[in-house]
Subunit: 481 residues, 2 copies
Amino acid sequence: MLTLARTALSPLNKKIESYGGVLSTDVVDAFFEKNQQRFLDELFEFLRIPSVSTDPENAGDVRRCAEWLIAHLKGIGLKTVELHETPGHPIVYAEHLTQDDAPTILIYGHYDVQPPDPLELWTTPPFEPQVRDGKIFARGATDDKGQLFCHVKGLEAWLATEGDLPVNIKLLIEGEEEVGSVNLDHWIEANQERLACDAVVISDSSMFGPGKPSITYGLRGLAYLEMTVEGPDHDLHSGLFGGAIPNPINELARIIAKLHDAQGRVAIPGFYDDVIELTDEERADFAALPFDESGFLKESGAAGLKGEAGFTTLERIWARPTLDCNGIWGGFTGVGAKTVLPSKAHAKFSCRLVPGQDPDRIAELAEDYVRELVDPALRVSVRPHHGGKPVLTERDAPTVQAALRALSRVWGTDAVFTRGGGSIPVVATFSEILNVPTVLMGLGLSDDRLHSPDEKFDVENFYAGVRASAYLMHEAGQPAE
Amino acid sequence: MLTLARTALSPLNKKIESYGGVLSTDVVDAFFEKNQQRFLDELFEFLRIPSVSTDPENAGDVRRCAEWLIAHLKGIGLKTVELHETPGHPIVYAEHLTQDDAPTILIYGHYDVQPPDPLELWTTPPFEPQVRDGKIFARGATDDKGQLFCHVKGLEAWLATEGDLPVNIKLLIEGEEEVGSVNLDHWIEANQERLACDAVVISDSSMFGPGKPSITYGLRGLAYLEMTVEGPDHDLHSGLFGGAIPNPINELARIIAKLHDAQGRVAIPGFYDDVIELTDEERADFAALPFDESGFLKESGAAGLKGEAGFTTLERIWARPTLDCNGIWGGFTGVGAKTVLPSKAHAKFSCRLVPGQDPDRIAELAEDYVRELVDPALRVSVRPHHGGKPVLTERDAPTVQAALRALSRVWGTDAVFTRGGGSIPVVATFSEILNVPTVLMGLGLSDDRLHSPDEKFDVENFYAGVRASAYLMHEAGQPAE
């Protein structure tokens, strides 16, 4: 079953009127204009701390980064700022609750970064941020220190100019996102009452394109399986047995070939039963996006595109379920030739799932189908690895609409709706544990080189991000029409 | 094109009559009876030399073994006995040519042995031969010192009792069979005129079963290929690209699945075009063999048998071509899950070929078919590894018939015709370079544990083998009817 996130907003507090609609954002804008150099200097301080979560040698730096953030959040005037220990790196948690009847928004981000290696490929050192050609170069510039800091400065703008926020805010900033958020789910579950909110906002991804702000309202889920086909109980000589004893590699290949039909659809019976199909409106919206298909193909380095018949490339990667083999192995794989009829063959394969599909159900259907396909002269076993639920946020959820308006105002162009083909596990966690929608408001660009040398964040996007965060709070705090 | 070995025997020399048909073999038998303990003692001497060809530490032992053999062959009275250097271990070559018009038989064998490891699994040390329960235990007992020595003692029996041989004999004994006969082909090619003969006899395999002597008259050949399917030019994130970019593992599996049809036949167009089909007589002969199918299945450790529709298990492994995947790999094969859409996928596959099929032609057909199958959005490349031609010796070739009569007389039961599913490269070499048939007269049993600890040779088979060799020379020397 898909956990379709739905929002039940509290009736809006009339007090919000005192913050003065458009007028307030003008004040915020003025404050922003005056302080932009300081914002950049502070971001540089944040970026200079090498909070590489995966390297034990940086454990002290990671903690120092959390402490820097604590001090900074206290400095801008947030009421409650706490460091929470975990078995790994600490979680920074902050709250600023004053508008009793206003919506409560939980902002999620992470202060840890990827390792900077290979160091020799950086133009300037990864932890000595520098602006060149209007771009901030540093590890974490966009992933996620820079994007997270947009919200921190957006909060500061309100607190410094109005002395309060137009909405209730909770901040959850972890230090283990780059190592799989291993302690986050447990912490969220243990603190779910405290984390109660109307929506989650995350800026840890990319806009649709330069000057093209977007909200990602759907993510694919995942069912990941491993299958083993067993024939003989030991490797055999292909001359002495070949032709009379079934070959597990050939059988594995036969099974995999039967996982798709000739139209590129997944052939597992029942696979599409629960799929929430795209609406005509969504398909029209996707079609209207200036998607660079030839650039996408070039980026993949493949000789051609290929997928489910009847769907466009964007539909295929954003909103259609798939089945891809991720790995295969068996028999002799060394250099040269060995005439072995192997005992076993293995494959890892995974399905990207779309809203409506449940990973456990899909894993069951896949296993049933594979067991039915296998020749009785061989044995097959299937075991699930991890799964993840797909996510669909209602496009008309109030916080989604507020974000859309905020982005459109800042960039002076209509923000668009996109989906994502991958999974962001924390979004599924928020959906499942807190039962709220997540607004994915990416402020980066697809060429930001996250996880690579010369990671960057456009200065323009940083400043726009600060304003977008401030406007989002304003828009979310407006009474519903 | 198959090199179908054919024999053109010289007219038989009338002088052979002087050796006296059945009478002569009685004399040989009497000599044999008197000397069997000495034969065993001498075999033990031969077995005590650790002529392990693969281990550089044993290089001196391998040479000592060749020299021991030279001395021994001179001792039994062979006219010409020579040691030939090669870039590796020496070849022992001997000739005894006297019967101008009698057939010439080349006996091939090898004096090197497999390494004895793991030593701790031997009941008694591998180079201290011992008889227990009527079996000679030692490394090389059956492979091939024991079987080769049957022919040496068979020759001695004639020379000692009659002072001559009923046929012309050439002996080619190499010291590198267990390391792939790396220098043999070159030596045979360089000495092909000297090696001219009417037939080759090899005892380096097994009888059909205990008390069931046999001649192997056919071997399968081999075409071995490696195929690579390439999709994207680097590994992709399956979330960002999956569904729109073709997956090379899925495509490889689809291609492999199309290499067979639903009846278990190889689906490569033209694959069966040159197959020399089994005759009704051959099929009847195979069917009459006491083949233990359930024992064969048990030995394989598979859950069931499976193969080309319309053929028995023996026909499938001896006389039908096959296609088996030998290895497959691609993508993420470590522990756990990685959602990669891999760049490449590879498979090694090989066809066992039957008489009539040519390895190069089959490799071409396979490559053409695979190229035709591949989706244009992916690339496929195919490269051949080694190949080997199938061999078919005519069942009515005089030396084959002579061997059949010899074996039948010794064991007191009709010797049977079998084929082999694997390849014996030297047989193809003799067929191609010398253009003569090879008689595979295995004297071992399938439970002799060659290449394993506690290798053995039944004393009964050793003695029967000596007589079979002596009788074979007698039968081959008889005038044609």
